[in-house]
């Protein structure tokens, strides 16, 4: 145990003192903040640009309908020919010219209206103009049917089916996606961590082989301890790096926002899916504030403590499994160029987990695919975490599934570490051979 501590300490310090590690650790947050600021800045510029649409209205309709709105304004041409209007719209740099001919019949008029632009018009503009036409046409038809606008407005109330669990817990639409997204963020974090720090473990093993120190070390400690120490030491370095990133990025963010005077809440409204979704739904739901409150309540009610606990559990188990495979690969090869054929099969389940997570778990967190992948040990750390924000037990992930996945993960962990340690033990003393899978199979039996 004492020796394991020594190894962990050495591996940790070797990683942390590495120049590229230091540079990466302190440069990344700056780059990241820089990127966010750039995006925020560009969005702001984009928003500030007003698009002007020229309107040549020869009819009696639509006299007051085309008024400026956010980002778009309308400029009315009067008593000039269509050609002249087109020319001046183009000359003034307008996005387009809307031509409404003079017809008595509104339907006919609408059918013969044209929107002239230099290039293909953006859907954004088209939607706005079409919306005006649609509203006017609807009103027209209602009048023909003898329905007043007020009466129609009462009908306009959209129906929203309320849902609840059998136990009477209120459900909210979209909350599943939000929850899966939060879980997905955790899962994604695990995947990134495995790929980055697993790679570090692998390179560190290769380095010990190429520098030929390996036999000196394993004459003092068991290869298994060396492997374990390396994995733990490297991951602690990784945790350090992540912690520094989170702290410094949030500090930088704060400083940057105060300098550039950007309102963080405005930014998050455009970038954050959570708010984006509620925003989209808001106009359709009459009791907006109440719903928002419910969403807030739901998010607040996500069992964060439980989620973090399981994040740590799945993170540790998943990382140990994968990084011991990485260590075994490092032991099997002589140089990093030989690793490709072995790395792909490791990345595959990780990618699969992320894709399955985003495609299947989002839409149906408790469907058979989601359940299957959240039990399968190589994907469960990621997929299960996407399901867990819905809670455990009633209305969430059944307890047996969580337990089964953790047990399977532990069994796999023991099995894989055992296998990896065998390959590692043989591999670190093998030089000059480019190993094949068949070779590795043979090593298991040594």
């Amino acid at each position: 145990m004492h020796k394991l501590g020594l190894i962990i300490k050495r591996e940790y310090l070797a990683k942390v003192r590495n120049k590229s590690f230091v540079v990466m650790t302190f440069l990344s947050p700056i780059l990241m903040v820089g990127m966010v600021l750039l995006i925020a800045y560009l969005t702001k510029i984009n928003d500030n640009e007003r698009q002007v649409v020229g309107v040549l209205n020869e009819s009696d309709y639509f006299t007051n309908d085309f008024v400026g709105s956010e980002g778009t304004s309308y400029l009315h041409f009067n008593s000039i020919s269509l050609e002249a209007a087109k020319d001046s719209a183009a000359g003034l740099g307008y996005v387009g010219l809307l031509h409404i001919p003079n017809r008595a019949n509104l339907e006919e008029l609408a059918a013969q209206s044209f929107f002239y632009t230099k290039d293909v018009p953006s859907t954004n503009i088209l939607d706005k103009i079409e919306g005006v036409f649609e509203d006017r046409l609807r009103l027209n038809r209602l009048q023909e049917l003898g329905v007043s606008a007020q009466d129609f407005a009462t009908m306009e109330n959209r129906f929203e089916l309320k849902t609840a669990t059998f136990k009477g817990q209120k459900n909210l639409k979209g909350i599943n996606e939000i929850k899966a997204f939060i879980g997905g963020a955790f899962g994604y974090l695990i995947m990134m961590f495995i790929i980055i720090y697993g790679g570090f473990v692998m390179r560190s093993v290769i380095e010990e082989k190429t520098s030929r120190i390996i036999e000196v070390i394993i004459s003092s400690v068991k290869p298994f301890h060396l492997m374990l120490g390396k994995i733990i030491g490297t991951s602690l370095a990784g945790v350090t790096q992540f912690a520094i990133w989170i702290v410094s990025a949030s500090l930088l963010m704060l400083v940057a926002f105060s300098i550039f005077d950007i309102d963080p809440s405005a930014l998050s409204a455009t970038s954050d899916i959570t708010n984006g979704m509620t925003g989209e739904m808001a106009p359709q739901v009459p009791t907006l504030d109440k719903t928002m409150q419910l969403y807030a309540q739901e998010l607040y009610d996500i069992p964060w403590a439980m989620l973090l606990t399981f994040f740590v559990i799945y993170f540790i188990l998943g990382y140990l499994i994968y990084s011991s495979i990485y260590a075994a690969i490092g032991a099997a090869v002589d140089s990093e160029t030989d690793t490709q054929q072995f790395i792909f099969p490791i990345i595959l389940p990780l990618m699969l987990a992320i894709y399955v997570g985003f495609f299947s778990v989002f839409s149906n967190p408790h469907g058979p695919i989601a359940v299957g992948f959240s039990l399968f040990p190589l994907t469960s750390p990621i997929v299960m975490l996407m399901r867990l924000p819905g809670g455990i037990g009633e209305g969430g992930v059944p307890i047996w599934q969580v337990l089964t996945s953790i047990i399977l993960l532990i069994v796999t962990f023991v099995g894989i570490v055992w296998l990896a340690a065998k390959i590692y033990r043989v591999g670190i003393l093998m030089y000059g051979k480019k190993p094949t899978y068949r070779e590795l199979w043979k090593w298991l039996k040594y």
């Binding site: 020594l6 070797a14 380095e207 120190i213 036999e215 000196v216 070390i217 004459s219 290869p223 043979k442």
Partner: protein
């Protein structure tokens, strides 16, 4: 218990390849024991088994009378043939780390390292990175790390490779000094001249089997074949040579008529040389009569070749 290490019928198989076949050795305490054999004979496998890096399929190993176990690791110092250091780590820090892995406390390791660094005159390397050192310099540090925890048994696998002759001599003297202080040493090498110089006992491995072991002087006695180098002062050398060659096998004969000096080697049927001496002294002045003792190298080559002929 006069043996520091005993192996009994140690067998190790790698897949279809038999790396060691029932190898039994007895390595006496406080001796230098040469483990010899061509490449691929199984020396490294045996050494790795002693260091518990790999484990035998069958057979037993005893360290100082006890079955080999994990605690013995701290009583063994091993300098592998494939050796290196962490390139980016500082010399002193690295030596401390390796010493602590062998079970020394940090303070203790520090004290001993200072002693050894002064002794080998490398004190000013402490804060250098290994990648700044030459190969020979790195080897010195590896040597220090191997012996630092004062193990009862030291195993050196090709210890002199990478050293220039001056440093090789320094290391050789240190090895002899360690033996004087009571350590037992296993010495694996191809360099036969260092075997002659250092080893009291040897074992010869070939094709995964032990083909010869014992005290080097005994082995040499067993392998001498009564060949004598003879130098005579005689007027009529040719006649004497002709007479002798009728009865004995003679080689490398040379007669210098001007000086009256005859040199040759001659094989006697037994190790009884009295008769021959009497006969020669009646014919000439003997200025040389030396029995040829085979060198370790000759024994080595002879054994390996015999095996190949038989195989």
């Amino acid at each position: 218990m006069n043996n520091i290490l005993v192996t009994k019928e140690v067998t190790k198989q790698y897949g279809k390849h038999l790396a060691l076949n029932k190898v039994s050795l007895e390595i006496p305490k406080n001796s230098i024991y040469g483990l010899l054999g061509p490449n691929g004979a199984g020396k490294t496998t045996l050494i790795r088994i002693i260091n518990q890096i790999t484990f035998p399929d069958s057979g037993e190993v005893f360290f100082d009378g006890e079955p080999l176990k994990a605690e013995h690791i701290s009583k063994i110092g091993y300098l592998p043939e494939e050796r290196g250091l962490y390139k980016k780590m500082k010399v002193g820090e690295q030596a401390l780390y390796l010493a602590q892995l062998k079970g020394l406390s940090k303070a203790d390791a520090n004290k001993r390292l200072k002693y050894w660094f002064d002794r080998l005159e490398i004190g000013d390397w402490w804060n250098k990175k290994v990648q700044e050192l030459s190969k020979g310099m790195a080897q010195k540090i590896q040597f220090i790390v191997t012996v630092l925890h004062e193990p009862k048994l030291l195993i050196f696998d090709e210890p002199f490779s990478g050293f220039d002759p001056i440093n090789a001599n320094i290391i050789k003297d240190e090895i002899l000094l360690l033996k004087e202080k009571g350590a037992s040493i296993i010495f694996s090498t191809h360099r036969m001249e260092s075997v002659e110089e250092l080893c009291e006992y040897i074992a010869l491995l070939n094709n995964s089997e032990k083909i010869l072991d014992g005290k080097l002087s005994d082995i040499k006695k067993a392998y001498k074949n009564n060949i004598y180098q003879i130098g005579l002062e005689v007027a009529h050398g040719e006649a004497l040579l002709k007479e002798l060659s009728n009865k004995f096998e003679i080689s490398l004969a040379k007669f210098d008529a001007a000086e009256g000096q005859l040199d040759f080697t001659l094989q006697l049927p037994s190790n009884d040389s009295k008769e021959m001496l009497a006969y020669l002294s009646s014919k000439a002045n003997i200025n040389r009569f030396v029995e040829t003792i085979p060198s370790a190298n000759e024994i080595f080559i002879k054994n390996i070749q015999d095996k190949e002929v038989n195989a």
